[in-house]
Amino acid sequence: MMPIIEVVDLRFRYEGSETWSIDGLSLKASEGELVLVVGPTGSGKSTLLRAIVGLVPHFYRGEYHGSVRVCGIDVSNTPVHVVATKVGMVFQNPETQLFSTTVEAEIAFPLENLGVPRSEMLIRVEEALRATGMAELRKRNPAELSGGQKQRLAIASILAMRPEVLVLDEPTSMLDPVSASEILEFVVRYCRSERRTLLISEHRLDLLVPLVDRMVIITDGKISFDGRPHDFFLRGTGEEFRIKPPRVPEIYHKVVAAVGPNKYERVPLTASELVELISSGDP
């Protein structure tokens, strides 16, 4: 199957910087795949995500080598607004992503910018409102919404463009735990049901690790691990990559360390998997 995202030997350093933020990174993702991008602060996660939507090198200038292709488009030669119709990006801070004074106007905003006819716009706004469960808030002022609702609105306005790929850069870093889990569960559910590709960078691994297909660990602008979360946590808790491991695999490894070497082929990622493992008579 042809990959929907194809990053080949990407190197990028910001104007005026001595070090490479992305240093020879290659990555492929296929349609409908859910990929979690993890790494310590400053590892190059955000730069990679911005390179996929074309903000690097169009918005952020610097030295750029290699290539990024999304849906067959060479991102470095295509304006951001063209790539943005294929790749929807949501940032950390919901406050700086909302420009309108009603929820429905906010969802319509990118469609207005693209010159979508009003009749089509009405359908898409309705679709995004329903998908995100915001139909009852349509007339509300975004300034009056909660943090979680604001981020949901930021996602809704991106979904109205019907992108094939969703790129989310730490979308829950400014939210409380309950709103964060609601947002993440919604995004995963949406991408699964609509067969959208998801690339998400996130520090709340407990919530996402059990839900994604793949986990990519980035350190110093390079990929240190690329595979199933299960395979990663079978090796250890990942502390050598300066990431905070999810609670369940951490407990599992402490138990294994206490009772003896790990001879089992599976590692639990959720509390219910851990309970299942314990009740099955494994360590």
Binding site: L55, H58, P79, A84, Q97, P110, N113, N141
Partner: protein
């Protein structure tokens, strides 16, 4: 202080029968009300009557407690300017060798104060009942370039946030011992300069994030942008417009023959 100004700037939909009127009609009514207060500048009694009529029209048609509260807050915020009007009148009387402690002074000054308040309120009437989106649609219908209209709606959206941020910086500096209540004006100014640096840095960071978000929301992608909100004159709009135009025309005629 910053948060109370932020609250005034934030648009809230109010319960009022006027909300459903076309914003262009509301703008015209505002202009009629404003012009009426301007043209009836004398004699003081007539001027006061017209201004009171304008205030009553706005108050009664808004028909909302929230709107009245906001109007009162606007008037309170204008108290400095009202005091200034009184001072100017006193100076005017004194320089002409007249005694300001007379009934004539009271009549002239109160009619001017009423006119001033009525003039401001006539535009508050428009701003209180028209959402920024509707205002943007009105301005676009007047063929104003979209970039200017967007700058205005974005300012309405972000000004309260900016003011809240200023308050946060001031509060956090207060917690670290900076005294903003000092009576020494030089020291006070110096403290505000200290708050200015983080506020500017935050504002720059925020504007950078906004620019990034605008890029991925395809701002400026096409020349012929479409609009979600479309203004359409309904029968009720035409009726209100005709009635108010007739009243305004009568007032202008009255003024011409007075």
């Amino acid at each position: 202080m910053a948060t109370s100004i932020a609250d005034l700037l934030r648009y809230r939909e109010i319960e009022s029968p006027l909300i459903r009127l076309d914003p262009r009609v509301k703008l015209l009514i505002s202009i009629y009300l404003f012009t009426s207060t301007l043209i009836f500048d004398r004699p003081p009694l007539l001027s006061a009557i017209v201004s009171t009529a304008v205030l009553l029209t706005v108050g009664l048609t808004l028909h909302s407690i929230e709107a009245s509260r906001r109007l009162l807050r606007t008037i309170r915020a204008l108290s400095f300017f009202l005091a200034f009007v009184v001072l100017l009148n006193v100076l005017g009387f004194v320089t002409q060798g007249l005694n300001p402690l007379t009934l004539e002074f009271v009549a002239i000054t109160s009619s001017q104060l009423l006119r001033f308040v009525a003039a401001i309120v006539s535009f508050s009437f428009f701003l209180l009942t028209v959402s920024p989106e509707a205002l943007a649609a009105t301005l676009r219908s007047m063929r104003l370039p979209h970039d200017y209209v967007f700058a205005m709606t974005a300012a309405v959206r972000f000004a309260p946030l900016f003011l809240e941020e200023i308050q946060e910086v001031i509060d956090s500096q207060r917690l670290r011992g900076v005294d903003y209540s000092t009576r020494n004006p030089v020291k006070r100014l110096r403290n505000y300069v200290r708050a200015f640096v983080p506020v500017v840095i935050n504002a720059l960071k925020r504007s950078f994030e906004m620019a990034e978000a605008l890029e991925v929301k395809c701002y400026g992608a096409v020349r012929n942008r479409t609009s979600f909100y479309v203004l359409r004159l309904r029968k009720s709009d035409v009726m209100v417009l005709t009635a108010t135009t007739a009243v305004f025309a009568s007032l202008v005629t009255l003024r011409l023959f007075l």
